[in-house]
């Protein structure tokens, strides 16, 4: 096992105005070669754990360590944010520039790249996600699948060491979903993926974590999804 890149220990978090804590003692560890799938119901705390890792939510208790350094204050998270990419569940929450190129160049510019460097990085990243020539398209008018790929490109443009992906296959058509699996497989970085799409997790991850009621435990076994079609689906019946 290599040394951990990111590690969260005993994280507690409660949203203001709610009674039950969203996280109560959750742990998460990523190494530079992790491919970790996160399973759990809606509201079990998966997204909260991601937002805590990125320093967006401040845990009431628990420690976050990145590359051996404990992170506490807002400023401490800047290096982490430069090196860990976060893909939002809804691309509409992630993309806010008029054109694709603006959005992709945004991260590199924040990291201090020159406009010319940012442009060439953007062009490279677009070709990784298979959207060559999309530079001047209007982000708001892209299809759901295209938006997801632009969002991924905008994160990859920061040349991160790890990616956190929140429900990346929601709203994807099957072709884009397949393309995403291929792209992720080719990336040489750590992945941590929240998904309800077990088949997708099976194809992209090598270890799994169960999140339940705000706590985490490694999943020894992964539930698999099998889909079959059969006659008589229009008659009420049950499967076990």
């Amino acid at each position: 096992m290599s040394t951990p890149l990111l590690s969260l220990t005993d994280i507690h978090y409660i949203y203001a105005g709610t009674a039950t804590p969203a996280l109560s003692g959750a742990d998460l560890e990523l190494t530079s070669s992790s491919r970790l799938g996160m399973l759990g119901h809606n509201g079990s705390g998966k997204t909260t754990l991601f937002l805590t890792a990125m320093g967006i939510l401040k845990p009431s208790k628990g420690t976050i360590t990145y590359a051996g350094t404990p992170l506490v204050h807002e400023k401490d998270f800047r290096t982490l944010r430069a090196e860990i990419g976060y893909l939002f569940q809804r691309s509409d929450d992630q993309l806010f520039s008029p054109t694709v190129i603006d959005d992709i160049a945004f991260g590199p510019l924040n990291l201090g790249k020159t406009p010319d460097e940012a442009l060439s990085i953007a062009a490279d990243t677009l070709s990784i996600v298979g959207l060559q020539g999309f530079e001047h398209r209007i982000t708001h008018k892209l299809s759901g699948g295209e938006k997801k790929m632009v969002a991924l490109a905008s994160v990859l443009a920061m040349q991160p060491k790890a990616l956190l992906l929140d429900e990346p296959t929601n709203d994807l058509d099957p072709a884009t979903r397949e393309r995403l699996i291929t792209i992720l497989a080719d990336l040489d970085l750590a992945l941590c993926i929240i998904s309800h799409d077990w088949d997708f997790l099976d194809k992209t991850c090598t270890s799994f974590l169960n999140v339940e009621n705000g706590t985490t435990k490694p999943a020894e076994c992964i539930p698999h999804t099998h889909v079959h079609t059969h006659q008589g689906g229009n008659v009420a019946h049950k499967h076990d």
């Binding site: 990125m54 944010r81 976060y86 509409d92 008029p98 991260g107 924040n110 990291l111 905008s154």
Partner: protein, 255 residues
């Protein structure tokens, strides 16, 4: 993020009908704004503080809020005493502080704080939804009261939308500073929020149409104010009017 800092509470002012409080606050504020003597303004401030006492609000939040309101007043204290003509009180380096200057600055301070304290005690103790309903009961044009209520309803949705976009910017290493990249980024965030808001407005309008809306809002509100509410509102309003009368006839001076 809770915007209604004072709306939660159990005091009699919290349970009073918003329409009655709106009337009381308006009459009291107008009367206080018309006061010209320090004595009457002190009286108004006392009433304001008394109301605050009844409302039992969090002292910390209250102090912060009053401090903020008094920032503008403090700014007037810097200029008014030296730029008002009148009897010199004190001179320094060519600046002359006048008696009249101090008087007017003091009067403004008292009046301003009187109105704000009464306003917080009366209106900040209602939630915005009740105030909007109160406005409708007071026969404020329906378009205005609905505009008020719908603005409040969607403020939260849009605030959340903005926060998610701004989180997205933070996560991609955005640190605001005084430079054109920062201003451009904020402008992009705002433009995106506006465009999404407009799209949302279209969906909401469709939702209204689908539930049979054809241009007329029907109202549910028929509730009358309780006698307790009306009497309390009258007392507050009358105290303001009494102060104004006292001020006008200079009763304080006669005493």
């Amino acid at each position: 993020m809770t915007l209604e800092s004072f709306a939660e509470g159990t005091s009699p002012l919290h349970s009073m009908d918003a329409a009655a409080k709106l009337v009381a606050a308006t009459i009291f504020s107008v009367c206080t704004a018309l006061l010209t003597t320090i004595e009457a303004a002190c009286g108004a401030l006392l009433i304001g503080l008394l109301l605050l006492g009844i409302a039992k609000l969090s002292a910390r939040t209250l102090a912060k809020r009053l401090l903020f309101v008094n920032a503008f007043i403090a700014f007037l204290w810097l200029t008014l005493p030296v730029s008002t003509a009148g009897t010199p009180l004190y001179s320094w380096n060519g600046f002359t502080v006048t008696h009249e200057g101090i008087h007017i600055a003091l009067l403004i301070t008292l009046k301003s704080n009187a109105i704000v304290t009464a306003f917080i005690a009366l209106l900040a103790t209602s939630n915005i939804t009740d105030i909007g309903t109160g406005l409708a009961k007071l026969r404020v044009p329906q378009k205005l009261s609905l505009l008020f209520l719908f603005t409040w309803r969607y403020l939260h949705v849009i605030l959340e939308e903005y926060k998610r976009l701004s989180t997205a910017a933070t996560l991609r290493g955005f640190v605001p500073g005084t430079n054109s990249h920062t201003y451009k980024t904020y402008a992009n965030l705002i433009a995106m929020v506006l465009i999404k808001s407009h799209d949302r407005a279209e969906r909401v309008s469709n939702a209204m149409k689908l539930r049979g809306f054809n241009g007329t809002f029907h109202t549910l509100y028929t509730r009358q104010s309780s006698p307790f509410d009306s009497i309390s509102a009258c007392i507050i309003a009358l105290s303001g009017i009494a102060l104004l009368a006292a001020d006008h006839f200079q009763i304080m001076e006669l005493l």
